[in-house]
């Protein structure tokens, strides 16, 4: 497909090193007008996909971070109560209807991410991050919005989307999502990148990392991921580590095993993991790196 190849090229140009199937997913998003649901471990770059998508479409990224207790007033819209009160005081004495018309107008409406996303002139990318953290009720509400793309505001009437945003949802699996939402979406599982891809990511993102060092780092991280750890390091941690090594002026992991072992704290985030990856283990893993 032509659009798919274009997207793959645009992704590469935007500096996002995608796996082969992501371009298909994005092409399908456009064609079928379905949201894309991304799942994967923490730190594999789910949010980055949305950013890359925004740069592919050369459009704005609107982000809604979900959390427990997220409600309509912080996700969709809210009236600017303070200004409304001021306006009432200022127009004291004029017709009640006139005041009402005035204070329930666009000027007093606070746009929140979901409303903003359907009122842009060009389709933005709407990133609904960590949907699994929001409550069930919010998920149901979101489902309605995603199928109709219209919002009704009692005082103002129904607002129909001027453009349909490109919607990306991410989930970490804190809570099982409803089947209805899953069915509505295209699904893409973001896995840890393989050695080759991770090395390329390190090269693109870390200035000063040579090709050989990037490959070594990627191989080392790959073998660390295979150890039984509580928190498996993600791509973000890998990049931290690469930056640390470059900062310490390490050219080759074998030159400086001490620096390697000491900087492992960039990857290991719990006490147990730190205890498990002893000096011996890190040297054994380093031995396997080419």
């Amino acid at each position: 497909m032509k659009d798919r190849e274009q997207i793959a090229r645009a992704l590469a140009a935007s500096g996002y090193i995608a796996d082969g199937e992501l371009a298909t997913a994005i092409a399908l998003m456009q064609r079928l007008r379905r949201p894309l649901l991304l799942e994967g471990e923490a730190g594999v770059g789910k949010t980055e996909v949305a950013k890359a998508l925004a740069s592919v479409h050369k459009t704005e990224l609107i982000r809604l971070q979900c959390y427990e207790g997220l409600d309509q007033s912080s996700a969709l819209y809210e009236w600017n109560y303070q200004r409304q009160l001021l306006a009432i005081q200022a127009h004291h004495g004029s017709e009640a209807d006139a005041i009402e018309d005035q204070i329930f107008s666009e000027k007093y409406l606070l746009e929140r991410p979901l409303l903003a996303a359907i009122r842009r002139a060009t389709s933005p990318v709407l990133l609904i991050d960590e949907i699994d953290r929001a409550d069930d009720e919010f998920e149901a509400f979101l489902l309605e919005l995603l199928s109709d793309f219209q919002v009704s505001i009692p005082e103002l009437g129904t607002i129909v989307a001027t453009t349909i945003p490109h919607v990306v949802l991410t989930s970490n699996g804190t809570r099982e999502l409803s089947d209805a939402l899953r069915r509505r979406c295209l699904y893409h599982y973001v896995d840890y990148p393989d050695v080759d891809r991770e090395a390329r990511i390190i090269m693109v993102r870390t200035s000063g990392a040579s090709a050989s060092l990037s490959l070594q780092i990627a191989q080392m991280v790959e073998s660390i991921r295979k150890e039984e750890l509580r928190k498996v390091p993600g791509v973000a941690e890998t990049l931290d580590w690469a930056a640390a090594l470059v900062g310490l002026d390490v050219r080759d992991l074998h030159d400086d095993p001490d620096a390697v072992h000491e900087t492992l704290m960039c990857l290991l985030k719990t006490r147990e993991d730190k205890a498990r990856l002893t000096r011996e283990v890190s040297e054994r893993l380093l031995g396997k790196v080419a």
């Binding site: 497909m1 079928l32 599982y189 509580r230 147990e272």
Partner: protein, 402 residues
Amino acid sequence: MSCCGASPDFPEIDEVSRLVSTKLAAFLRTLRDNGFAVGLAEGQDAASLMASGYAAKPSLLRSALKHLFSARKSDWEKFDGLFDAFWLGKRVRSRSLTIGAAKAANSPSMKSLQDTSAERGNSQSAIDQVPSAGDAPEGQTGEGRMEGASRADNLAEVDFRKLADPEQVAQAHDAAARLAKAMRTRLTRRDLARRRGYRLDLRRTIHRNISHGGVPIALVKRQRKDKPLRLVVLLDASGSMSLYTSVFLRFIHGVLDEFRQAEAFLFHTRLAYISDAMKEKDAARALDRLSLLAQGAGGGTKIGESLKTFNRWHAARVIHSRTCVMIVSDGYETGDAALLGREMAALARRCRRIVWLNPMMAWDGYAPVAAGIKAALPHVDLYAPANTLQSLTALEPYLAKL
């Protein structure tokens, strides 16, 4: 479609598209048999994709349909295999103009697909598949399910020791999952009913009182959301418990699946954190991962030592004010009973409730005389037998009150 001739007549195109869509419908049915949640809308989208050139290359079509039809990680992982078996295993080139959906279902390769689906029958599809797996034909799933339900009733009376048959074990798991689900809904509903405001919500108060010109007459209070109940299960996997361990592991698997917040630990001579391993959707794979973690299981029991580890390293993280700790053990302590008593006291200070389930309790003539259980009992809020599914169900009202 690419397989059509150079310039076919319109009726022929209709014919071909009809056959392709029949074939697609058969594929959708295969997916549904394998636990995929695909509906009509997905089928239509798939057809439009095939019409717009995605069917040109198998790998492209596979990738496109994978995104469209998968809804969770387990789907994502098994899709490629299903696709290859259905579309490529039969040699796509002779993609045949005569095979309709009904016939396809009876053809050997479809059969083999269905067989594998039955083998793979995972937790999602187990509910339907297990009871009707015998000889009931497809059309009678309703009856099959009823039969399954009555069988589950019988099962509820059987002591876990007698559960050796894999099918029955699967049903035990299913029942455990149902139980966990029932607990959860009770709890959340109770949460809603108990909400009470304790702090003023200034923003909403202003909004509410715009009609009074901003004079705050009607106050709006803010309500704190109740924390959902968290269940922490500590399972004894020592030799004396070996008859019950696997059933309780399945129960834990159900609990982790269904509860919004649950953690599980396994102990024998030391303590292992198993929630992550058990969060595998597939029960069998979870057990595989677990067997690696649980090396040394089936030996002696050091309950006190294990609790000490728990209190020291895990309790702060996994226990909050609405936590119920469920210890499943026979209480045969091979370590220091006094230590067990001390650690139980420390645990009791931390959490809301401690439930101790003892499978031995239902045995005739059992009395809690072992030193371990004697030391622990003063700190336990509920001491109950747990050798049948029914005895687990009896816990439900107690947990709902928490």
